[in-house]
């Protein structure tokens, strides 16, 4: 009898768990006045926006609430469910970037999507911008620093190029097609020249869908960034305009430029983070492309003089290439290396390289 009474007492009077009084009702948000000294606006359990001092010039009623009135645009990628927030005043530009944290449940992501996560903001102009973001895989928190207020969401980038780890295939050279004939209509190459062009970017023609670019990482990049690498939101622009030819039809002079950029993203142990890749080169001695000599030897073009985006002038730059006949025109695949700088403890830099194979076409007349 006594044991039964004790058991009844023990089970009937069990402690119930307390709950934190932080969570808001579904769809509820917050509006706080943030001044020049900064502050935080949050929508637990999924969103916070931390303004440092100097971010806002004066007291501003900053609002944040789950975005349920309409879908977040898919311009920059596929929004992760329940991660979109309406943040205002829309269009407010920030003197100092604000730190946004969005909870992204790893269970909502398909395998491999975590490395493609980014914070996206819809600007007042309607354009959707993505920001270099860090994703804490252990805790499911996506972090970025944003410079403008507007609807925000965690998106899985749809424009990402996987970076291969094996050696790139060797390019095989080929026969140059004849220079363009004189044309009176449209933006065709100048008479007597042969131009190859390639361009892709998230805004105009996404590189992933265009198939213009393939990428490989060298061992240094792999050692510093791991084996799972993507170039997210890549931007590529390459123009090679061969302006003079010798008697056998090989080019002797070229004018051109290359720029390649994007967010080089990798999984660092339990964090996904990025490196802003930006590299480029122009022919000739300055920032603006100018003619330089070119020598064709087998599958390699050797440019006489080039200038890197950092202003360094280089001589006899070798560019492996392949030319393929595709019907009435030709396609060139050119190989360039984009430099990645890694800091060392003694302050020196170690350089790694991302090798790009870019497919160029002769513009249609």
């Amino acid at each position: 009898m006594l044991i039964a009474a004790v058991a009844l007492l023990a089970t009937g009077c069990q402690q119930t768990d307390q709950q934190l009084p932080f969570e808001l009702a579904e769809g509820e948000g917050a509006t706080l006045s943030i001044g020049p000294t900064g502050g935080i606006v949050s929508v637990p359990p999924s969103f916070s926006l931390d303004f440092p001092a100097g971010s806002l010039p004066g007291a501003t009623p900053v609002s944040a609430k789950p975005l349920i009135s309409g879908p977040f645009p898919r311009d920059a990628g596929v929004p992760v469910p329940s991660t979109a927030f309406a943040v205002g005043p829309v269009g407010t530009t920030l003197g100092e970037p604000a730190r946004v944290e969005i909870a992204v449940d790893p269970a909502l992501l398909e395998s491999g999507e975590d490395i493609l996560l980014q914070v996206a903001v819809r600007r007042a102009t309607g354009e959707v911008s993505t920001y270099e973001s860090t994703y804490d895989i252990t805790n499911g928190v996506l972090v970025a620093e944003v410079d403008e207020l507007g609807p925000m969401a965690a998106v899985v980038s749809a424009d990402a190029i996987a970076i291969a780890l094996n050696a790139p295939p060797e390019l095989t050279g080929g026969t140059f097609p004849p220079p363009a004939p004189p044309s009176l209509v449209g933006p065709a190459p100048a008479p007597g020249t042969l131009a190859f062009q390639a361009a892709c970017s998230p805004q105009d023609r996404p590189c992933f869908r265009s198939g213009l670019i393939r990428l490989w990482a060298d061992n240094v990049v792999r050692e510093r960034m791991g084996d799972e690498l993507f170039l997210v939101d890549p931007t590529v622009s390459l123009i090679l305009d061969f302006v003079t030819f010798d008697g056998s039809g090989l080019p002797t002079e070229v004018v051109g430029s290359l720029s390649i950029g994007g967010d080089l993203r990798a999984r660092f142990n339990s964090t996904v983070s990025g490196y802003e890749l930006e590299d480029g080169v122009t022919t000739g001695p300055g920032a603006n492309p100018s003619p330089t000599s070119v020598v064709v030897s087998g599958s390699v073009l050797t440019f006489g003089q080039t200038t890197t985006s950092s202003g360094e002038v280089e001589f006899n730059e070798e560019v492996p290439f392949t030319i393929l006949d595709i019907g009435t025109t030709a396609m060139m695949i050119a190989e360039f290396d984009a430099e990645v700088e890694f800091e060392n403890n003694d302050g020196s830099l170690t350089f790694g390289y991302i090798t790009a194979h870019i497919r160029l076409r002769v513009p249609e007349s």
Binding site: C13, L20, A30, L32, V143, R224, M225, F268, S270, Y275
Partner: protein
Amino acid sequence: MTRSVLAAFVALLACTHGLTAQMAPGTRSVGMGGGGMVFATGVDAVEWNPANLAWGGGWNISLIELGVVGIGSGTTATDFLSIMEGDSDAASLIAALPSDGITLSLVAEGFAAAYGLDLLDDLPNGANTAPLAVGDPLPSVGIAIGPIAVRVRSRMRQNFTLSKELADLIGNGFDYARIQDYATGNTGWSSLSTSEITASYGMTIGSSLSLGIGGRYVMGHGMTQGQFFEPQVDLGCRKGDPTCDALVIQTGSVEARDGTGYALDLGASLELPLGFRVAASGTNVVQRMNWDEDQIIGYAARFTGDDFDDDLGLNLGIGDYLDRFDGDVIDPNSVSLAVFEAAQNFLEGSYFPQVFRAGLGWQRGGTTIEATGIKVAPRGRYRSAWDERVSVGLEQRLPILTLRGGYGFAENGITQMTGGAGLRLGPVHLDGSVGKFSGERLDAAPWDGYFGTLGLQIPVGGQ
């Protein structure tokens, strides 16, 4: 120097924020392998079995009760300090750490120990900084008069876990070339500080059965929980560039400062022939604990790779690091996600579990032998890895000396070997006990830890 300070800082975290653990008080029970329930008398009976108060008689005053327990896995205490200090063998010790890192647990029993740790626990902006302020731990004292006893008890429990990768960062210093390796993993901490006032009564039924009951009022002085978030990496940041940080580690923590609760204990004891006795007791059979939800404090701090870079020679002091923790009462509309994430499940299970004990003992002359089994209910997280156990203990009374020894085996592989001695100087009894935790674990690092207690009592009359 920087690394030494960091080591001290982490050690401070380890000491001030850690574990949820529980150690039943009493130098006698500790000396007997964590058993000693069957023949616990006087003030000790309040915690172990209030039914024993019915057998005691006389009176008993407990003036001092001190105890400290430290247990870890992943490394030994000595090796842990070598890692934190960045000693010459730190690299090899870090390499030998298990993949799940280091776990440290600490329990301070008694006013002095608990109050000392509570002072260390104070963070900037904290309200609990004045010495002996309202809300601080109470002195651990008790008095038993015949079948009635009252005991005041203060405890502080702490847990700290440190990932192998973060130990690497602290022990070996920040290395740009290894920036991709760093991770905080399960690094975090929790702590609890309480004082309890328990009143107990034991009564006999017939000549061989006694029953006991105890009522307890619990004051929660503080409860914290925090975690480190995974590093944010900026590969484009160059060494010495003041405008950026190559590595940033965010931390978030929450603290509740005002909790109250109550509990009911029950016990029974049956005398058997030939000096045998069987006993059973239930602690927290009924209990409630509530924390003030309107006064949850959130803290956030930010550490960078430079903080772990010996080359920079920043020589930051502990105060500099603690100053990073910026805290305020949490406003749901204005809380960083780091703090909110750190608060997950903060109040769930924030109470003591029910503890049920049963034991068999034999006492003849000055010799006592006891075997005790302890079962802990799954609900309530104020418990430790070694609470649920079987203990066997021996006590031998000599003319002015009492010797004790014992062995305990916990379900999860922890074993404890203990010993103790008591000195009777007239009416004053001074008792001390020490012990060592050890134990192998399947697919995990072995346990390693120590504990010690000190007590001063004045018993008069009775058993």
